[in-house]
């Protein structure tokens, strides 16, 4: 009986236990791997050292994280609004589709990192240029997934709405939009880490604040431990963003049904 109960408990905790084990394994490898392969500490400091640095610099890292988070959040929200709007516009208007779609495909393929120096010239060394970078990185996946979602409404349902005499507005609100949501949510998921990358890339090119500047400064001073500490801060930031989006995405559960 007790072994049965504990087996059930373990089965239920598997989703937590499995990733935790993976993390612990990775941490152990990091901590002792460097010593094992005789890597110098300035190349790969042990995890304990990195964590200690993270703790010692928690004040700076937190305040710099907040700056980056702000840039990411603003850029991402702008990309979400703009992406949805443009996706809808292109879907609804054949003219917009003909005129804009090729341009979007072209821009999407552009290495947007190359734009960072120009954006700093245009929008200054302050946070605005980073917001624009985050926007540019997040924008295209959202447009493309919105378009893809709207265009792939099952035809039998489109016909059904025609048959029951639904107005165009009703067809959009009750059929097109809900059936596009899984794809749109996918685009939003994909766009979140891209927004972080965009903001950090912007900070690399020229900034006074933000996690990107900490990374640059640590690198310049050969402070590998601080560099890794800020990388951890960046991944925590991206992870939090992911969790938030995942929480909202749960409400769109009808994927593939």
């Amino acid at each position: 009986m007790p072994s049965c109960a504990s087996a059930g408990l373990i089965a239920r905790l598997r989703p937590v236990i499995d990733p935790a084990l993976a993390f612990i394994l990775l941490a152990v490898l990091w901590e002792y791997g460097a010593a094992l392969f005789h890597l110098k500490a300035y190349l790969l400091p042990p995890l304990s050292k990195v964590l200690a640095t993270l703790w010692d610099n928690r004040g700076t890292l937190l305040s710099e994280s907040l700056v980056t988070l702000q840039e990411v959040a603003l850029g991402y929200l702008a990309a979400l609004a703009g992406g949805l709007l443009l996706g809808l516009l292109i879907f609804a208007m054949a003219t917009a589709r003909r005129a804009l779609y090729p341009a979007i495909v072209l821009f999407q393929g552009l290495p947007k990192i190359a734009l960072a120096p120009l954006l700093v010239v245009w929008f200054g060394i302050g946070p605005l240029s980073k917001v624009v970078m985050a926007f540019l990185f997040a924008f295209f996946p959202i447009v493309i997934s919105t378009l893809g979602g709207l265009a792939s409404t099952p035809l039998n349902l489109v016909e059904h709405f025609q048959a029951i005499g639904a107005s165009p507005w009703m067809s959009f609100r009750r059929l097109r939009l809900p059936s596009a949501l899984p794809s749109i949510v996918d685009g939003c998921r994909m766009a979140a880490p891209l927004a972080v990358i965009g903001a950090i890339a912007g900070e690399f090119v020229g900034a006074e604040q933000g996690l990107g500047t900490v990374v640059l400064m640590a690198n310049a001073n050969a402070r590998t431990d601080l560099l890794f500490a800020s990388l951890i801060a960046i991944s925590i930031l991206a992870g939090l963003l992911y969790c938030l989006i995942e929480l909202i995405a749960r409400r769109v559960w009808w994927r593939g049904l």
Partner: protein, 274 residues
């Protein structure tokens, strides 16, 4: 007496009756209807028939002969080839008409809506008053045996339950013309019988016109005033059989009647089943 359309010989009247002075327009009148899909797939070949108001007509035919195509044209969803036309109550069918209810072969339920919300969809599209929708959906849910599943989602239902839900969505409308494309195909014999009886009851109460597509000869005979038989693709009407079983019909006694057996045998021969 004039409102006893089933006694008329419909086959004789099926051509060029439209525009007649004294006669009221047929519920559905098809004149020389052909349909060619892209790629030169000829689905229908110069079909003509006439269905009177309040008549119950079934269509039998081999798979792929164009039955669903025909129903779509009657519903105003597809256009017939030039040269042919379908009139519903005297009007050419150029687009879907609110008082025609159609149930498709595939149950078209929205996966993100509960059964109850799915039921309401067509009524909401036609701006039926809320209270009326409320009352009718409760009634339809009970009739179809779906009350306990009202708050479930389509993927939690069996195939037969999904079919019933799709059927219910149309029932809610109280349409004057019902177009049914194998609505009971996925049901067990018992539920099918029950729904057949229910369909007949509604039809009698509401004086609707029904055009039913089915693969079951017995179902067609049991329900209909007339059965149209279609040929292999390209579909043509190869027989128009008046069913002489007495009404009201009942699963046991009607099926035991000699007329029923004779009709089933005749249709089976026609379709090459026996």
């Amino acid at each position: 007496m004039a409102s006893e359309p089933t006694t008329r010989d419909v086959t004789e009247r099926s051509t060029s009756h439209r525009g007649g002075v004294a006669s009221e327009p047929a519920a559905i009148e098809a004149t020389e209807v052909s349909k060619t899909y892209p790629g030169d797939v000829r689905a229908l070949d110069r079909l003509s028939f006439r269905i009177e108001r309040s008549e119950f007509v079934s269509v039998l035919g081999p798979s792929g002969c164009g039955k669903s195509t025909l129903l779509r044209i009657v519903a105003g969803l597809h256009a017939a080839d030039a040269g042919g036309a379908i009139h519903v109550l005297g009007e050419p069918t150029t687009r879907p008409r609110p008082q025609t209810g159609i149930v498709f072969q595939k149950d078209n339920l929205l996966p993100w809506l509960t059964v109850r919300a799915n039921l309401r969809l067509a009524a909401e599209a036609q701006d039926m008053p809320r209270v009326l929708i409320e009352a009718r959906s409760a009634e339809v849910l009970a009739t179809l045996g779906l009350s306990t599943f009202a708050e479930r989602y389509p993927h939690e239902l069996s195939g037969g339950m999904r079919q019933r839900a799709a059927f219910g969505q149309m029932l809610l409308l109280h349409p004057d013309i019902l177009l049914l494309d194998e609505p009971f195909g996925a049901l067990d014999a018992l539920t099918r019988d029950r729904l057949n009886v229910e369909l007949l009851r509604l039809w009698q109460v509401r004086q609707q016109t029904v055009l039913l597509i089915t693969h079951s000869i017995a179902e067609a005979v049991f329900l209909s005033d007339r059965v149209l038989v279609m040929s292999e693709r390209p579909g043509r009407i190869i027989a128009d059989l008046k069913i002489r079983c007495a009404r009201p019909r009942d699963p046991q006694s009607t099926r035991a009647s000699p007329e029923f057996t004779a009709h089933v045998l005749e249709l089976s021969r026609m379709m090459g089943v026996v």
